[in-house]
C-alpha cells in the first residue's frame, strides 16, 4: 500500500495527522463534547489510560490553551485557507493559557509531554493512584474524568469484553474517588455480549447516563462511549470502600426484556454533515484549495513488546536424522526420563543459535551493517550465506556487482567482495528510487538464470542470491496486483477453476513401456 492509501481509507486518520493530533481518537472526544458539552467550565480534568495522549491533547488545547476547535467539514471545506494557520496563530499571539486549569494524565507508559498536562505513571486499578491525582488538585476534586483505555486484546471476544469491563470498573473506581459531585465521567466501552448490565450499574451513581457512538468511530467498530453526567453518589457512599472489581457477571436476562427495564439511550453523533469514517474519500477533497500533502503520523507508535523480534534469530528445525529428534520418535510414557532431563543442562542455550545469523524480512540497515562487520571478521561461510540472504531480502544488487567483479569463489575473494558490497549497500538503501530497483531485479534475474542453467560456474554467492527471504515483501505484492489490472479486460468462458483440477494428472503419451504412469 502506498503512503496515501490509509489516508484515503480513513478520513479521520488523515485529518488527525493534518491537524497535529496524536491519534484519530481525538475526534471522538471532540464529537462527544460537541454533543454533550462535557468540557464546558471544566477546570480540573483527569485522563485515564492516556497514552499516546490524544485525549489529553484535546483537554490541553481546549481547556488549558483555550482553543476553539471546530470539527465539522466546513472547517476544511470553506475556511480551509485559515485552518492550517490556526496552530500558528496561537504560537504568534500566544493566547494566554488558562492557569486555573489542571489536567492529570495517568498511564502505565510514559508519553510525550503536553502543555498544561501533569503526567502520572500509575496503575488505575490501585486506590493509591486516585490519592495521587487528588494531590495534584491541591485538595480539590475533578470536574471531569475521561478514559479511552482498551486492554491488550486476546482475539477471543468474550474474554476481551470481560477484560474491558474490568478496566471500566477500575476507571469508575478512580472516578468515584476523584470526582466532584455533579462531575462528568466518559469512558470507552465495547458493545458486546451482556454489556448492557454493566451500563446499568452507572445509573446508580450518575444522574444522566448516555451511550454514545461518535461518527468518527467506524460502522463496524464495537466501541462506544458511556457519557455519565452529574455524579451523585447515594448518601453514605464511600468510594474508597468500593471494590474496583464489581461483578459484571451474567445474570437473568429476563430483566432485560421485562416491563421495568431501564434503557439507557443510545445516541449517535447527530450532525450528519461531518465526515463518514467508512467512506473512502478521494485524497483531494472537493472544495479543498490546498493540494493534498502526505503527513507523517504525529506520534509514532511506542515500541511494541515484540519490537526486538527481528533481531531474534528465527530457529530452524533440526534435521530429521539428528539425535534430538529421538524424543519425538517414541511415545513418551517413561516418567523417570523426565526427572533426569530436568537435571540436565541448567538454562543452557538461552538465546538459541546466535551464531547463525539469518536473513530476515524485517532486516534493517543496522542488522546488515552488523552482519557486514561480522563477516569481515570471520571467514565463516554461514555468515557469508546470511549476508547474501540479507542483501537479497533487501533487494540489493550488490551481489551481482560483486560476483561480476570478482569472478572468484567466496573463500578467496571475501574481503574484496565485502568492501564492494558495503559501498553499494549504503547507496542503494539510501535511495530506493523505483527505476533503480527495476534495474536491481534485472541484474539479479540474470544471475539466477545463469544458475538455473546449471552450468556449474556460479559461485557460492550467486547461489545464495537465489535463496528467498522468508516473507514476500511489499513490492512483490503490489506488482502482482498490477498484473490483475492488466487482465481486467479479458473475456472469459466456461472453465473449471477449482483446486480439484490439480488432481487430474497429465497423461503420458510416450512410447514408454508402461502406459499407466503418472506425471
Amino acid at each position: 500500500m502506498g503512503k496515501g492509501s490509509k489516508d484515503k481509507r480513513d478520513i479521520y486518520y488523515r485529518k488527525a495527522k493534518e491537524h497535529g493530533w496524536r491519534a484519530r481518537s481525538a475526534y471522538k472526544l471532540l464529537q462527544i463534547d460537541e454533543k454533550y458539552d462535557i468540557l464546558e467550565g471544566v477546570n480540573k480534568a483527569v485522563d485515564l489510560c492516556a497514552a499516546p495522549g490524544s485525549w489529553s491533547q484535546v483537554l490541553s488545547r481546549r481547556l488549558y490553551l483555550n482553543e476553539k476547535i471546530t470539527i465539522s467539514p466546513r472547517y476544511d471545506l470553506d475556511e480551509n485557507n485559515e485552518s492550517p494557520k490556526d496552530d500558528e496563530i496561537e504560537e504568534e499571539e500566544s493566547i494566554e493559557p488558562n492557569e486555573n486549569v489542571k489536567i492529570v494524565a495517568v498511564d502505565l507508559q510514559p508519553m510525550a509531554p503536553l502543555p498544561g498536562v501533569i503526567q502520572l505513571q500509575g496503575d488505575i486499578t490501585k486506590l493509591s493512584t486516585a490519592q495521587e491525582i487528588i494531590k495534584h488538585f491541591e485538595g480539590g476534586l475533578a470536574d471531569l474524568v475521561v478514559c479511552d483505555g482498551a486492554p491488550d486484546v486476546t482475539g477471543l471476544h468474550c474474554i476481551d469484553i470481560y477484560i474491558q469491563g474490568q478496566l471500566i470498573l477500575a476507571a469508575l473506581h478512580i472516578a468515584c474517588n476523584v470526582l466532584l459531585k455533579g462531575g462528568t465521567f466518559v469512558t470507552k466501552i465495547f458493545r458486546g455480549k451482556d454489556n448492557d448490565l454493566l451500563h446499568n450499574q452507572f445509573l446508580t451513581i450518575f444522574k444522566e447516563v448516555y451511550v454514545f457512538k461518535p461518527s468518527s468511530s467506524r460502522n463496524s467498530s464495537i466501541e462506544a462511549f458511556i457519557v455519565a453526567k452529574n455524579y451523585s453518589p447515594p448518601d453514605g457512599f464511600d468510594p474508597t470502600l468500593m471494590t474496583p472489581f464489581l461483578n459484571v457477571g451474567e445474570r437473568n436476562f429476563d430483566q432485560l426484556t421485562g416491563i421495568n427495564r431501564i434503557i439507557i439511550p443510545f445516541m449517535v453523533c447527530g450532525d450528519m454533515s461531518v465526515y463518514d469514517s467508512d467512506v473512502t474519500y478521494p485524497l483531494q477533497l472537493a472544495g479543498e484549495a490546498e493540494p493534498y500533502i502526505y503527513h507523517e503520523p504525529v506520534q509514532k507508535p511506542i515500541d511494541p513488546p515484540y519490537a526486538n523480534l527481528k533481531n531474534m534469530p528465527q530457529p530452524k528445525p533440526v534435521s530429521e536424522d539428528s539425535p534430538e529428534m529421538e524424543v519425538l520418535a517414541k511415545p513418551s510414557t517413561s516418567k523417570s526420563v523426565g526427572d533426569e532431563d530436568a537435571q540436565h543442562h541448567p538454562s543452557k542455550n538461552e538465546s538459541p543459535a546466535e551464531s547463525h545469523l539469518m536473513a530476515d524480512a524485517n532486516a534493517t540497515n543496522e542488522d546488515l551493517l552488523s552482519l557486514l562487520v561480522q563477516s569481515l571478521k570471520t571467514d565463516d561461510p554461514s555468515v557469508q550465506d546470511s549476508l547474501a540472504n540479507l542483501l537479497n531480502t533487501l533487494g540489493i544488487s550488490a551481489i551481482e556487482k560483486i560476483s561480476k567483479e570478482t569472478e572468484t569463489t567466496v573463500s578467496s575473494g571475501n574481503h574484496q567482495t565485502l568492501e564492494v558490497s558495503q559501498e553499494i549497500q549504503v547507496h542503494e538503501i539510501g535511495s530506493s528510487v523505483p527505476s533503480e530497483s527495476v534495474e536491481v531485479t534485472m541484474v539479479i534475474d540474470q544471475e539466477q538464470t545463469r544458475n538455473s542453467q546449471i552450468i556449474g560456474q556460479g559461485n557460492a554467492f550467486a547461489e545464495n542470491v537465489q535463496l528467498e527471504g522468508q516473507e514476500a515483501n511489499q513490492d512483490t505484492l503490489q506488482q502482482s496486483d498490477n498484473f490483475v489490472i492488466n487482465w481486467v479486460k479479458y473475456e472469459r468462458g466456461t472453465c473449471t477453476c477449482s483446486m480439484d483440477a490439480i488432481s487430474h494428472e497429465g497423461e503420458c503419451d510416450s512410447d514408454c513401456d508402461d502406459e499407466s504412469h503418472n506425471m
Binding site: 486499578t125 491488550d152 477471543l156 474474554i159 474490568q166 458493545r191 458486546g192 448492557d196 460502522n219 464495537i222 457477571g249 451474567e250 436476562f253 432485560l256 426484556t257 443510545f266 445516541m267 453523533c269 467508512d278 467512506v279 473512502t280 513488546p305 523480534l309 530457529p315 530452524k316 528445525p317 533440526v318 530429521e320 536424522d321 519425538l328 517414541k330 513418551s332 523426565g338 526427572d339 541448567p346 538454562s347 538461552e350 538459541p352 546449471i454 556449474g456 537465489q466 535463496l467 528467498e468 522468508q470 512483490t476 506488482q479 496486483d481 498484473f483 487482465w487 472469459r492 466456461t494 472453465c495 473449471t496 477449482s498 483440477a501 490439480i502 503420458c508 510416450s510 512410447d511 508402461d514
Partner: protein, 963 residues
C-alpha cells in the same frame, strides 16, 4: 419467555481440548464434541452451555464427572461409560472469570483460579467453601494450578505485564497469600501457562512472541529457573503444553512448534490453514498432538515425522555430482562434473555407470520426462543424448547433434514425446522424440523483452506455452513468433514451472503465487485464479501437493486443504533438486541428499475440517430438497461452498469447494437463478468486496438419486482499473428486469455500479458487462436491494446516514446521473441489516437494524398518485433488546427475528391493528458465535437460521407459525 430455538450445529473456534484414553473431548462454542482418536470419527455431541465458549474441561475418572467451565459459568456433569451419556445439570455462576480449574484431594473438591487472582475451593455441589486471594491483585490473562492436594497446590498467575506470580494458597494469613516467586522474562501479556507436575517444568507463552520453559531447580530452595527461551512465532503465542520429552508452543500465526527442553526446534507444523491455534491436546500412547484452530478445525498428527534422511557423498571415480533427477523406479540418475552419467540404485546402495561423455565435462543439462522414464542429457554445444529407464537403470536410445548458433541454455520435456531446447540467442526448438530417433518439430523465437530467458514450458491444447525470467507468458502455435504474450504474470523471479492439467494451465512463480489460466479460442490466456501461498519460491507440483522453499527449508504444501504439511531443513533452493512420490533429493556440498517421507504419516487427521479462518462477512443459503447449500465469504478472502444435509439424523456440514480468487476480503454475495429443469438448477453467483472486485461464478446443482452433484465454474470478473485500492464493495443486488439480469454493487465511497449479465459467444457462458456508475452521496453505502411495489420496481439503498433511500428503476436505468426519489430516516447511523415484507400493493414493512443498537420496523406506504413518494404510516422502534450493532434481520408472517454482535437472537411477533404496529419480543437465544455479521433465515413452518460471524451456528425454532 419460553425457549423456542435450539442449536443444531456449531462450527467455530475450538477453545478447549481434553484427551482421555482414546477419546478427544473438544469444546466448540457451548458444546462438547466427542471423537475417537484412533479412527478420527465423530461419536457424540452434548450441549453444555448456550451462547458461550467452553474454556476448560477437567476430568474426574473416579466418579465419572466432568467439570466444565466457560467464563463465569460452570457445570459439574456426570457421564456414563465411554462418554455415552451426560447428565443434565444446572449451571453455576462464579464471581469472576475462571481461568483454570482442577480437581483436588482425591477428586473431592474443585479449585478454580479467576482473573482477579482469586482461588476458590468448591465442593461437589459447586458451593464455595474457601477462598484465598493473592496479595498481588493484578489482572490475569492466564493461570495454571499445579498439583492436586491442598497442601501442595501452587498457583501460576500470568499477568498483563509479563510477570508470572507463583503463590501457594496453603500458606496464608487471613486467607491472604504472599507471592512466593515472581518470574520475569516476558515483556508483555502472558497468554498461557502449562505445568507438567511429573517433570516440575512449566511453560509460559506471551504476546512478545516468546515462550519460556521454566524448571524447578535447586535441592534446598526449589526455585523456578528459566531453562530456555524460544522465539519461533511471528505473532502472539496463544497456547503451550509440556510433554514428557518435549514441549509445544502454538499461536496466532497458525504455527505449531515442537521444541526439546534445550530450546532446539524439532518440528514446525501449520495444521490450520493460517488460522490461529487456540487449544492443544496430547495423546501420549500414540504420540499424537491434537490442535484446535480458529478456522474451526480439529486436527491430530503424529509428533514424529518419520523422515528418513540419507547422504551419499562418495561417487565412483571420485566424481562430483552436478545434477540429480529421480527416476520412476525411485533410483537416482546423476550427471557428474566429469561428464559421467550414473545411476544410483537406492535399495542396494550401489552405483551403475551408464555412460561417459567427455564433451559434457564443462557443462550439461539433465532432464527427466514427466513420467520419469525418459531422460535427456544435453551438452552446451548441441549434443543431445536420450535415455530410457529400463529395469531400474538407464539405456541409451538415441543421439542428435544440433548445429547451434550459440550455447544451449536450457531444455524441458513437454511430455514424454516432446522435448524443447533453447539457446542463448532466443532460438527455440521442439523435438519429436521417437523410439530410436529424434527430429526437429518446430522452431520458435523468443521475443526480446530486455532479455531472453526461458524458465518453463508446457504443451496445452496443441499450443506451446512458455514462461520467461521476466514473468511473462507466451503462447505459440506453429508460427515462429508468439501469438499472444501475457506480461508480468509473475513478478521478479519469473515463472518457475508450467503445467497443463485438464483444461487449465497452471503457472508457479517465485512470487508466492500459484495461478491458473485458461486458453481462449483466440489463444489468449485468461486468469482463472491466483492463490498466494505463505512462502515465495514455488518449485513443482506433485498430485495435490506443491513443493516449495522458504528460506532454508523445503516446504510441502497441501493445495486442497491449504496448509503446510512439512517443513524440512535442507539449506534452501538448490542448484539441483527433484521431488517425486515421497522422495526429495538435492545436492548440497557435493553430496547427494535423499529424504524419504512417509506421506500418510505426515498427513494430519482432521476430526473437523476447517472453515473460514477469520470472520465470515457474508453468507447466502440455497435450499434444495433436503439440503442447504451455503455460500460464504469473509476476511480470509476465500469463497467457500458447504452443504448441510438435513436428511441425516445428525446435521453435518460438508465441504464442497473453496475458491481463492478474490484479492481482498469478501463483503457481499449475490445469486440469481438462471435455469431450472427437472433435475438441474443453474445459479449465477456474484461475490465482491475489497478493491471493488466482483467475481461471477456459475453454480450448477443437479439432483441425482436424491444426492446432489455440484459444480461451480468461474465466468467473469470486474475489477476497478484505477489506483484506488481502498474502495470496497459493501453489498450487491441481482435483479431481473424486463428479461435482463442486472447487478447493482454498492460501494464504500457512495457509488453504485450497474452491470448487466449477458450470454457470451459460447451460449453456456455468461459475461458481466459494466454499464454505469452513479452516486448516492459521499456516504458509505451498506446495503442495496430492490423491491416491487404498486407495479413499480424500486431500488432501496441504505448507508451510514441511517436513511432508507428509494430510487425509481426507470430513473436509475435511463438517467446518466440518476437521483433518488425519496428517503425515509430510520436510524441515527449506519443500517447494517434489513428485511422487507409486502403487506399490500402500496404498503410494505421494512425491518432494519443499525449500529445505533435499534431495531426499527417501518410500515411504509407508497403514494397512490405518485408512487415515487413514500410516507411512513407507523414505526416500531426498540433500542434496548440488543446492546450492540444489529447485523441480522428477517421478517415473515407474524414474526420477525433479529441478531446482533451481542450474540442474541431475538424473536418478535408483529401485527398491524388499524395501521398501528404492535410488536412483542417472544424469545431470546444466545448464539456461541462471536462478532455476528449476519444471518440467513428460512421459514419452512419452522425457522431455520444460520448465524455467521466468527464461525457458523445453525439454529432452528419449534413449529411456531401454526400457533
Amino acid at each position: 419467555m419460553e425457549p423456542i430455538f435450539t442449536s443444531k450445529l456449531i462450527q467455530a473456534c475450538i477453545t478447549s481440548i481434553k484427551v482421555v484414553d482414546n477419546y478427544v473431548l473438544a469444546g466448540i462454542g457451548g458444546n462438547i464434541n466427542i471423537y475417537n482418536v484412533v479412527s478420527a470419527t465423530f461419536l457424540r455431541r452434548f450441549k453444555i452451555f448456550e451462547g458461550s465458549k467452553i474454556h476448560g474441561i477437567e476430568l474426574n475418572p473416579v466418579d465419572q464427572q466432568l467439570f466444565i467451565y466457560s467464563g463465569q459459568k460452570m457445570k459439574l456433569v456426570r457421564y456414563e461409560g465411554e462418554y455415552e451419556k451426560f447428565s443434565r445439570e444446572p449451571s453455576f455462576l462464579a464471581d469472576d472469570w475462571i481461568l483454570a480449574a482442577k480437581f483436588i484431594d482425591n477428586y473431592s473438591r474443585i479449585a478454580t483460579i479467576t482473573m482477579n487472582n482469586l482461588l476458590q475451593i468448591r465442593n461437589t455441589s459447586l458451593e464455595v467453601t474457601e477462598q484465598y486471594t493473592c496479595n498481588e491483585r493484578s489482572m490475569l490473562y492466564s493461570a495454571c494450578i499445579g498439583f492436586n492436594t491442598w497442601d501442595e497446590i501452587i498457583v501460576f498467575a500470568g499477568t498483563a505485564f509479563g510477570n508470572i506470580f507463583i503463590w501457594k494458597p496453603s500458606i496464608s494469613t487471613d486467607k491472604q497469600c504472599a507471592v512466593q516467586e515472581t518470574l520475569k522474562g516476558h515483556k508483555s501479556v502472558i497468554l498461557s501457562i502449562d505445568f507438567n507436575e511429573d517433570l516440575k517444568m512449566m511453560c509460559s507463552t506471551s504476546d512478545d512472541r516468546s515462550s519460556i520453559l521454566w524448571a524447578q531447580e535447586g535441592i534446598k530452595h526449589k526455585k523456578f529457573e528459566k531453562k530456555c527461551k524460544v522465539y519461533g512465532h511471528q505473532a502472539r503465542v496463544f497456547c503451550c503444553k509440556v510433554m514428557s520429552n518435549f514441549f509445544v508452543s502454538a499461536g496466532e500465526d497458525s504455527v505449531l512448534n515442537i521444541w526439546n527442553f534445550d530450546g532446539s526446534l524439532l518440528r514446525m507444523v501449520e495444521p490450520h490453514q493460517g488460522g490461529a491455534i487456540r487449544s492443544l491436546g496430547y495423546h501420549e500412547e500414540r504420540n499424537y498432538i491434537i490442535s484446535g484452530g480458529e478456522d474451526g478445525s480439529l486436527t491430530s498428527f503424529s509428533a514424529f515425522t518419520s523422515v528418513e534422511s540419507k547422504k551419499v557423498d562418495i561417487m565412483p571415480k571420485m566424481e562430483v555430482p552436478r545434477q540429480v533427477i529421480l527416476l520412476s523406479s525411485g533410483n537416482i540418475a546423476v550427471v557428474s562434473e566429469g561428464g559421467y552419467l550414473l545411476c544410483y540404485i537406492c535399495s542396494e546402495n550401489r552405483w551403475v555407470t551408464i555412460d561417459h561423455h567427455k564433451e559434457l565435462e564443462q557443462c550439461s543439462l539433465l532432464e527427466v520426462s514427466p513420467c520419469r522414464k525418459c531422460v535427456a542429457l544435453i551438452g552446451f554445444h548441441g549434443e543431445m543424448y536420450f535415455y530410457k529407464e529400463l529395469r531400474g537403470t538407464l539405456l541409451k536410445k538415441c543421439y542428435y547433434k544440433l548445429e547451434t548458433q550459440s550455447k544451449i541454455a536450457g531444455a524441458h520435456w513437454l511430455n514424454c514425446k516432446n522435448f524443447l531446447t533453447y539457446e542463448n540467442e532466443g532460438r527455440l526448438f521442439t523435438w519429436d522424440v521417437q523410439k530410436n530417433s529424434v527430429e526437429i518439430k518446430y522452431q520458435y523465437t523468443l521475443p526480446w523483452n530486455g532479455e531472453r530467458r526461458l524458465t518453463s514450458a508446457c504443451l496445452h491444447k496443441e499450443c506451446l506455452v512458455i514462461g520467461d525470467r521476466k514473468g511473462h507468458l507466451h503462447v505459440y502455435n506453429k508460427k515462429e513468433f508468439p501469438i499472444r504474450s501475457m506480461m508480468k504474470v509473475h513478478t521478479s523471479q519469473g515463472v518457475s514451472k508450467l503445467y497443463s492439467i485438464s483444461n487449465v494451465v497452471i503457472s508457479l512463480g517465485r512470487d508466492s503465487l500459484l495461478k491458473m489460466h485458461r486458453l481462449e479460442k483466440d489463444l489468449r490466456l485468461t486468469p482463472v485464479s491466483a492463490d498466494k501461498l505463505p512462502f515465495t519460491w514455488l518449485g513443482s507440483l506433485y498430485k495435490n501437493y506443491l513443493v516449495g522453499f522458504s528460506g532454508e527449508n523445503l516446504i510441502l504444501w497441501d493445495i486442497k486443504v491449504r496448509r503446510t504439511l512439512l517443513k524440512s531443513s535442507c539449506g534452501g533452493g538448490h542448484r539441483s533438486w527433484d521431488f517425486s512420490e515421497n522422495t526429495f533429493i538435492y545436492l548440497k556440498s557435493k553430496a547427494i541428499n535423499i529424504k524419504h517421507f512417509d506421506l500418510p504419516a505426515i498427513l494430519p487427521l482432521d476430526f473437523i475440517s476447517g472453515y473460514h479462518v477469520k470472520e465470515i462477512n457474508c453468507l447466502k443459503a440455497i435450499r434444495i430438497g433436503g439440503y442447504y447449500i451455503l455460500i460464504s465469504g469473509g476476511e480470509d478472502t476465500v469463497l467457500r461452498l458447504k452443504k448441510v444435509d438435513l436428511t441425516k439424523e445428525r446435521v453435518e456440514l460438508t465441504s464442497i469447494k473453496k475458491f481463492k480468487s478474490h484479492l481482498s476480503s469478501i463483503k457481499a454475495i449475490g445469486f440469481h437463478k438462471v435455469e431450472e429443469s427437472d433435475n438441474k438448477i443453474t445459479y449465477l453467483i456474484f461475490y465482491g468486496g475489497g478493491r471493488e472486485q466482483i467475481l461471477m461464478y456459475k453454480l450448477i446443482i443437479s439432483v441425482e438419486n436424491s444426492s446432489l452433484e455440484i459444480s461451480c465454474l468461474e465466468q467473469d470478473s470486474y475489477y476497478n482499473n484505477s489506483n484506488d485500492v481502498e474502495t470496497r464493495i459493501m453489498d450487491m443486488n441481482v435483479v431481473e428486469y424486463n428479461k435482463r439480469i442486472l447487478l447493482f454493487a454498492a460501494c464504500s465511497n457512495g457509488n453504485i455500479h450497474l452491470f448487466k449479465i449477458v450470454k457470451g459467444e459460447n451460449p453456456d457462458e455468461f459475461v458481466l458487462k459494466f454499464m454505469k456508475t452513479f452516486q448516492y452521496k459521499l456516504r458509505c453505502l451498506l446495503k442495496i436491494t430492490s423491491l416491487f411495489v404498486s407495479n413499480m420496481k424500486m431500488l432501496l439503498t441504505m448507508a451510514t446516514d441511517g436513511m432508507l433511500v428509494f430510487w425509481n428503476f426507470s430513473e436509475v436505468l435511463n438517467n446518466d446521473s440518476p437521483t433518488y426519489s425519496d428517503a425515509v430516516p430510520a436510524h441515527q447511523s449506519g443500517i447494517n441489516s434489513y428485511s422487507i415484507k409486502a403487506i399490500s400493493d402500496t404498503q410494505i414493512l421494512i425491518l432494519s437494524g443499525g449500529d445505533d443498537n435499534a431495531v426499527v420496523l417501518n410500515l411504509i406506504e407508497f403514494s397512490s398518485t405518485d408512487s415515487t413518494k413514500v410516507s411512513v404510516v407507523d414505526t416500531f422502534k426498540d433500542v434496548g433488546v440488543h446492546c450492540a450493532l444489529i447485523s441480522g434481520a428477517f421478517i415473515c408472517d407474524k414474526f420477525f427475528v433479529t441478531t446482533a454482535i451481542d450474540q442474541r437472537v431475538l424473536l418478535f411477533s408483529w401485527e398491524i391493528i388499524e395501521d398501528k404496529l404492535k410488536c412483542r419480543c417472544l424469545s431470546m437465544f444466545h448464539t456461541a458465535i462471536a462478532d455476528v455479521q449476519g444471518m440467513e433465515c428460512f421459514n419452512n413452518g419452522r425457522l431455520d437460521i444460520f448465524v455467521y460471524g466468527n464461525g457458523l451456528e445453525y439454529i432452528t425454532s419449534r413449529r411456531i407459525l401454526s400457533g
